[in-house]
């Protein structure tokens, strides 16, 4: 049976308790044989540290390890740079394609938009939608706007 204070006793042994908790643990250990024994066992366990400490590594092994670290670090940094370069190039390519597509769309849209021509100094002539038989046109001057339906065969349709 382990005392319910045993964990606290361990923390006290490690110097991890402060203030009232520390005092309470200290007082408890004085009157609890189980916790007092636990502290003794922890002390014995600590005394094993020097006996079971990991063996030292020889300097030449460290040198070899360090060489490998440098080589592998350099390799990974280069790989990372390559990955970044490829990713950046991909992004630039996508951006360029999008830009090109936008330009093409603008050119196409401009070509298919209604034409507007200036007729001398008097006004503008705007050609509206095309149809198979008539092409509507707007002739606009300072004071007058004329909408015409011009036959695609060269005949004048309707004048308003």
């Amino acid at each position: 049976m382990v005392c319910k204070w045993a964990e606290e006793a361990g923390a006290y042994f490690d110097g991890e308790l402060k203030g009232e908790r520390e005092n309470a643990a200290r007082e408890h250990i004085k009157v609890c044989p189980e916790c007092a024994k636990h502290i003794e066992q922890l002390r014995s366990l600590e005394s094993l540290r020097n006996n079971v400490a990991a063996e030292e590594v020889e300097e030449k092994q460290w040198d070899s390890c360090w060489q490998k670290i440098k080589e592998e670090t350099t390799r990974r940094i280069l790989v990372r740079k390559k990955v970044h370069f490829i990713r950046n190039m991909s992004l630039i390519s996508v951006a360029a394609l999008l830009l090109l597509a936008s330009l093409l769309w603008l050119v196409f849209a401009a070509e298919s938009s209604p034409e507007k021509e200036t007729i001398a100094d008097s006004g503008t002539l705007e050609i509206l939608e095309y149809s198979s038989e008539y092409t509507p046109m707007v002739l606009e001057t300072e004071n007058v706007m004329i909408i015409m339906m011009v036959s695609n065969k060269g005949e004048m349709g309707e004048v308003k």
Partner: protein, 191 residues
Amino acid sequence: MANNMKADASDKLSDEELVERLKIGDESSASAIFRRYRSRVYRIARSFFDEEKSLDVVQEVFVHLLSGIKGFRAGAKFSTWLHRITINCCYDFLRRKRSRKEESVEEEILESKRDDCETPDRVVERRELETAFKSALNALSPKLRIVFTLRFFEQLSYTEMAKVLKCSLGTVMSRLFYARQRLLDALADYI
């Protein structure tokens, strides 16, 4: 990257100063950090693996550290970050090792370096204790083992362990208690 493994002026700098210099590409800082922390990383790894594998862990930890030093937050404690990387690497290696056969602890001990200053009886006694201790340590779950190792070999405080392991102080206290209890039970003949 520094070629020279000999101690130099960088060894006198604090961790924070070394990290800042390393971030701007100072080569001597890298080897100074390696010299300062290699044994600690090795000791933690050694509680899980044999000598060869532990050196592999050391290599992996420092490669990770040096190639990712720019990700280290200013203001954070460097040793906590390093311990965290070490533990993650140990867990990674453990996952890889699961499918393989565990190395014989006894064999590892017998291969360890002989101390000529000790009497033959003392050597046998020490090796027996080492074997028992390592067997008991290996029998612990990785979570208990790492808490015990960080306290026993690295003497980290509970607060530092909680930060490294990303758990509460209560969890650290509880795991450490159970780890010690199991070791004490296993080593009853020696203590």
